[in-house]
Each structure stands twice: as structure tokens, then as C-alpha cells.
Amino acid sequence: MRKSPERVEILAAEYVLGSLKGPARLRFEGWMMESGRVRQEVWFWEQQLGALSTATPQETPPPRVWSDIQRRLWPEQATTTAASSAKAGWFWPGWGLVATAAAVLFAVLLLQQPSPGVERPLLAGAIIKADMGDPLWLLSETGGGNLLKLRSVAAGTAESGKDYELWVVPEDGEPLSLGVLPAGDTHEVALSDEAQSSLTRSRTLAISLEPEGGSPTGSPTGPILHVTRLYEL
């Protein structure tokens, strides 16, 4: 395969993103070894996308990580026999991230989280699904967390005379309506301060089937179709 500038440009980006994999990834690593131009292109993306890495929340690793590193690098010095617990009971669940009983709600959120100095994007996210079927809606949160954007993927319109209504489920108390979901590709919901602070605490949303125009009582009256916690990525 010829290393045209266009091809190098896109493959380098996909390499750093991680979407280039398998034999194509190995082949590209060969290109990197051969060509300074290819490496420069990779470094460009490592630096640019690296900004996203530093936006993730910090988390202190357990002490065994450091003791295992020491044990592996300098086995002669190992004073602690770090339990081989890391290997025991290994279980990798594939990417089945969430599987609740009735429905899975998974929302894609682009959060603007205040961090010292710079506002950085932080992804949380998911899809609204019925059982393990196709996704119905995708959700994103923008505008400093006070705007929810729903994108219909495969959700049909509600049956005649009915509407889907979106709710914030607070930690305690009654659900707060975010209004009915109109048919169409994209729908934006501005969150009130109350809805936003509830959602920030509970991270839970629900969708119910209501009479046309939405619940007449201000609380869900129809069947709850989907409930989930938002999933921070």
C-alpha cells in the first residue's frame, strides 16, 4: 500500500484513536519505523488527543499495583509476595456494559465539566435500548450540563393518541417531567435548575407512555418503558 500523504494522515489519526487495529495496525507500525514523516503525524495526534486524557477524573490505584510493578521489574528485591489475586477469577464481560432486567438506557453525554482553568469535554454516555434490541435514542448533554439532546435512532412514534414523556427520577420524591418527546430526529430539552441538580445527583432518567400531550397529572400515569442510570464514560 502506498504511503500517500492523505493515507498517512488518516491512518495516523485512526492509529492514535485506536480504531485502527489488527493487521492494519501492525502494518502501520511498520510504516512508523520506516518514516519520520509518519511518526510526526502520529505525534501530532498523540499531542492533540492527549488533551482528552488529562480531562479524566483521577483515581488512586490500590497499593498492590506498585508492589506488582516492583516485583516484576526487580524480582530479586521482592519482599512482599503480592497475592496473585489479579489473575484469580479473571472475568472479562466483553463490552456488555449494562444489562438490566427490562430495559437498558445508555446515553451519550458530552459534559462540560469545570476543571481548574480550562473547560474540557468529558464523555459520559449511552443508548436507550429496549431489552438487548436496537438502540432507540442517543442522549447528549451540552451547554454546561443544562441542555439534553436526544437523537432518535430507531425509536418509532408512540401509538396513536399517545406520547413518550421523559422524566428525571430524583433520589427521592416524585419524577420531574422533561416534557414529551416529539417525533423527529433530534430533540433538545433545556433543564431547569431543579431538574439539573436532581439529575446530577441521581443520574437517572425514565421514559413513560402517556396520553397525547403528556401526563395530565404531572406524574407518570402510563407504563414506564425505560429506566436507567446515566453512565459516565
Binding site: 485512526e14 487495529k21 519505523m33 511518526r39 499531542q47 483521577q58 498492590r64 510493578i69 489479579a86 474540557r120
Partner: protein
């Protein structure tokens, strides 16, 4: 959570010492970046055991390859975070798809060029990146961020976004190129 501010000059000094196999400097380096790196690994893998393993692999790699770091690779922290990201992705892929085991280590690549790049450029880069991401279409941005933060493959994105793999690939490619044009403006 209390954010540990990172002093890049200090990390640079520690990396140089690690390159000379200074174990004490290595421990200091670990204590300075471990929480930040572990946060990334956990987020990416969504699996603590795998994240711990990726941390081990990353630091072992840093120990062996600290001498290969140079300024063109980005700020010291970004370089180490990039290693952690690649190692986490490797482990994720290896666990799920056995035949993809064995990605070569990036650090086999050698390049001696020194190209000092002002750190302030990189810092401003993150705000610029945010702005440029905002310019992408929703599907392009979602695809790129899901791949970056969660290591989603094309197939997984295709399933998640309920779109053919070819469409997802095209979102990513067009999105990345639009991002680059924006970043270069």
C-alpha cells in the same frame, strides 16, 4: 476529588533519572502520575483488574523506554498517558479478540530529533480541541469520543449507533480530518 497538579519540568527531570535507571526517581514518578493514569485506564477499560494490569504494563514500559522520550512526543505527562492508553487498548482487545494479541510496542520506534515545543501551546491546544470538537457533527463527535474514551471498535460503534460499519468508519474519518483542519487553522 483533589487534583494533583503536575509539574512537567519535574516530570522531565524524573524521566531523565529513570532513563539512567534511578529507582527512587521511578517511584517518585509513579507517585506523581499514578492517580491520573489509573483514572484514564479505569475509564477506558471500565474494568478495574484490567486497568491495574494496564498500569503495571505501562510503568514497566516507562522504566525500559524512558530514554526514548523526547519533546516531539508531547509533554512528559501526555507521553506517559499515551502509553497507558495504548496498553489498556491492547489488553482490552487481547481479552476480547484473541487473535489481535501482540501489538508491537510503539517505543521500538527511535528518533533522536529534538524539537522543543512550548508547553503553553499544548495547554492552549486542549481548549482549542474542545472548540474544534464542537464544530463536528453529533455523530462524528460521538464516534470519535466513544472510540477515544471507551476504546470502541468500528463494530461496537456500528452496533451502538445502529449504523452500518462503513458509515461509522466514514464518520470517524471525516470527523478526524475535519478536526485536523480545524486544529491547524
Amino acid at each position: 476529588m483533589a487534583s494533583v497538579e503536575v509539574n512537567q519540568d519535574e516530570l522531565m527531570r524524573l524521566l531523565r533519572s529513570v532513563a539512567r535507571k534511578d529507582r527512587q526517581a521511578f517511584q517518585q514518578l509513579y507517585s506523581q502520575v499514578a492517580a491520573r493514569m489509573f483514572g484514564l485506564c479505569v475509564k477506558l477499560a471500565n474494568h478495574r483488574e484490567l486497568a491495574e494490569e494496564a498500569m503495571q504494563e505501562s510503568f514497566i514500559q516507562i522504566w525500559h523506554h524512558a530514554g526514548e522520550y523526547h519533546r516531539d512526543r508531547g509533554a512528559p505527562l501526555a507521553w506517559m498517558m499515551t502509553i497507558a492508553r495504548y496498553r489498556t487498548l491492547d489488553l482490552m482487545r487481547a481479552r476480547k479478540v484473541r487473535q489481535t494479541a501482540g501489538d508491537e510496542h510503539l517505543e521500538q520506534v527511535e528518533d533522536r530529533r529534538a524539537g522543543p515545543l512550548d508547553d503553553s501551546l499544548r495547554t492552549s491546544g486542549s481548549a482549542q480541541l474542545t472548540g474544534c470538537l464542537e464544530e463536528l457533527s453529533d455523530v462524528q463527535r460521538d464516534s470519535i469520543l466513544l472510540a477515544y474514551y471507551r476504546g470502541f471498535t468500528h463494530d461496537e460503534l456500528s452496533e451502538t449507533l445502529n449504523s452500518p460499519v462503513g458509515t461509522v468508519k466514514s464518520w470517524i474519518r471525516r470527523g478526524l480530518m475535519a478536526l485536523k483542519r480545524c486544529l491547524e487553522r
